[in-house]
Symmetry: C2
Subunit: 431 residues, 2 copies
């Protein structure tokens, strides 16, 4: 099928404006490991997809999925050992404070549960997020999408969800401040929003952050900020929600993004990579928090906590562990990040190279000013890399960050090939 | 694994209070067609599950799922023919007004999309639902869960979601009224809520109903009510949302519940049976409505519109069509309903037998008063039927309806076996 014709059919069947990547979208028909193949048989190295974390078409996952679907796949109001075992295994990957799991079908649903746990447990409504985040697409969770913050004020007044500026060292809230002063400045903003919630009667329920601030553009965070923010949240009677949908599941070379960020959450949300493409998400917390949530809501989710989710979820964890993917991520991610960072002094268009494990951001800036974001340049790089056979995307608060986030099975030789394509792309653009 | 030990592990891993069916929950390990099997090998006839609509472990679905997962399963921002073809096929199952589809992962997500389409298109917020309904578990959709209505008032004032009494002939709003008068009385309540939204500035966006009022208990609706309600909604500039999560996909012996209910929706929501257990849901409407929604929201759903959803969704439709399941549902459903209705005059505990196709409700009432709901009796019947090897549940506005809703492949001989078990159960209870 011709790409233009397929796009036209798609516009009618899915409605115009269903998002597509790239100036000239690609028609992908097959995947294997780190590679995707289009309808003409062209191979692309997948540097974007975190969902197929153990590789496209991973045979262990396919086999587990097929076996379970051929055996039993039914809702969770009958006893079944599978989902219990998956919940136990997930909880064991956290510290002792995380004991019980509520499964759902998407990060959106899992964040809905997290907000309801926090609001129900505290009896208060106010949620703090950052000003350049995304946690999902429902009405309640969508309220947190890039809501900005009232300029010049210590807090803003957007109902029960309010934002603080995301913490970063590159474009600091207080120019010239030391890292310790900077952490304090961001904490002061958090303090202001909490106080605002308390003063106007909304009350403060909790803070939600992506542990690596992925949608914000993977900023380097002032040392100590997150640990002290978590402390401040708890001192105010709130709960700390770590959205690990992007940060978790070995993405950073550790199981959880919060480990690297140096804080301990009360509630952990996971999603995307959990089922290697099967809709599967989870909200984990202490048994007391989950018991309270279940007692208040009688939460039930038709497709969640199913034997199918359990079998596939276990298979994904099996592969991560058996194939040593945490180590692979740490090793290949560090080498790739270092190699990209080496290029920065040689290229005025690269403002910064940041990231954790196999989640790396390359900031594109206007020549001459290392802080002037250039989203058009990022988009151009992404499209040219695609033409060279490497799939990335752009992200960040200014949309100027080339986002590199391959499956966890991404290999060193693919990183080397990517660096060649990256150099050629930058040469074209700089030239 | 011992059932008691498994339940204890489950309480810890999933939190206490994760819903379970039956006084003594069952430990199900395998399914095949209409049957479920517990850990001791005991066979149960599944009279409850609408999700595995083409039968537990249906081999055509298993094969499609495994093949697609082994080929490609990725998000929808690359072109892929599968999801386009599924959207086209779904739209073609409706009238010409339904053209485009937004896929998601659960009925909850699909109803979120429906509300956003209605509110965005009208620029108004007010949604009317019934007073004993359920449309999902998110914050926005959960607002519609059994919200009741302000007694004695033409409308109530619960923010942007308000209820009308669900239409029924058994316990009519106006006792002694003719069916035409009764329809008019329910319409008057709808008129009152719409007027209330208009008067207080909320504005009226639309009406959402399950086309067969499943959670309300499958009431017989006064003739002409739904057609005239839809007319009234449109005259007031609102949109009609048919929640076909339970009513659709051949459940009533027709493709859609709204066909039997005699109205044409502007927005159709489908979910549960679409993927035979794979999380898959959809919101369908005119291209203009979907285009507007996509333009306003840039809606994206990580796991939705995937090649996996497409392949499995197509396989389910294949089986429904190839195996003539609409006909099976109409035939076996009518026979089962008639057989149950025959029993009513002989048994004071049966207040009513209602339903459509393979979705039948048997209302349990207190002896001597055919209108006095007896939820305890319904629960007792459900538990005793389970002990006899037949899985049902209870539902309805008063929870006194024994809910019979087997997979669409349910056969006449299983209906006959069920009737024997039902008779024995009723004899015990009446005796």
């Amino acid at each position: 099928m011709d790409t233009t014709m397929l796009a036209a059919r798609r516009d009618r069947a899915l409605g115009a404006g269903a998002p597509l990547f790239y100036d000239r979208p690609i028609h992908i028909v097959r995947g294997e490991g780190t590679y995707l193949f289009d309808a003409e048989g062209r191979r692309y190295v997948d540097m974007y997809n975190n969902v197929p974390c153990v590789g496209h078409a991973n045979p262990h996952v396919v086999e587990a999925m097929a076996r379970q679907q051929a055996t039993l796949n039914v809702h969770s109001r009958y006893l079944h050992e599978g989902i219990v075992a998956l919940a136990e295994r997930l909880a064991a990957l956290h510290g002792p404070a995380i004991e019980s799991v509520v499964f759902s079908c998407s990060g959106t649903e899992a964040n809905e549960v997290a907000l309801r746990i926090a609001r129900g447990a505290t009896g208060r409504q106010g949620i703090v997020c950052t000003n350049a985040t995304y946690h999902g697409n429902s009405e309640a969770v969508g309220k947190m999408t890039r809501i900005g913050e009232a300029p010049g004020s210590g807090h803003n007044s957007q109902g029960d969800v309010r934002a603080i500026p995301f913490p970063e060292t590159l474009r600091p809230l207080v120019p010239g401040a030391s890292e310790a002063e900077l952490a304090e400045a961001y904490l002061e903003r958090l303090r202001g929003v909490i106080r605002g919630f308390e003063e106007d009667g909304t009350g403060f329920a909790g803070l939600i952050v992506c542990s690596i601030f992925a949608n914000e553009g993977l900023p380097d965070v002032p040392a100590g900020f997150m640990a002290r923010a978590a402390e401040m949240v708890r001192a105010a009677g709130g709960l700390v929600i770590a959205d690990e949908v992007q940060a978790g599941y070995a993405r950073t070379g550790r199981w959880w993004g919060y480990e690297g960020a140096g804080f301990t959450p009360d509630i952990v949300v996971t999603g995307k990579p959990m089922g290697n493409g099967l809709p599967l998400a989870a909200t984990a917390a202490s048994k007391a928090l989950v018991d309270g949530f279940r007692a208040r809501t009688r939460y039930f989710n038709t497709f969640a906590s199913s034997p199918l989710q359990a079998a596939v979820g276990m298979a994904v964890l099996d592969v991560i562990e058996r194939d040593g993917l945490l180590d692979n991520v740490a090793r290949v991610g560090a080498a790739l990040k270092a190699a990209l960072a080496e290029r920065k002094p040689r290229c005025a268009a690269i403002g910064d190279v940041r990231g954790h494990g196999l989640f790396i951001g390359v900031e594109m800036v206007k020549g001459g000013d290392a802080l002037d974001p250039d989203p058009e340049q990022a988009i151009a790089v992404v499209n040219r890399l695609k033409d060279r056979g490497f799939l990335t995307s752009n992200a960040g608060a200014f949309r100027n960050v080339v986002k590199i986030r391959p499956p966890l099975v991404f290999a060193r030789h693919d990183a080397d090939a990517f660096l060649e394509a990256f150099d050629a792309t930058i040469a074209e653009i700089d030239g």
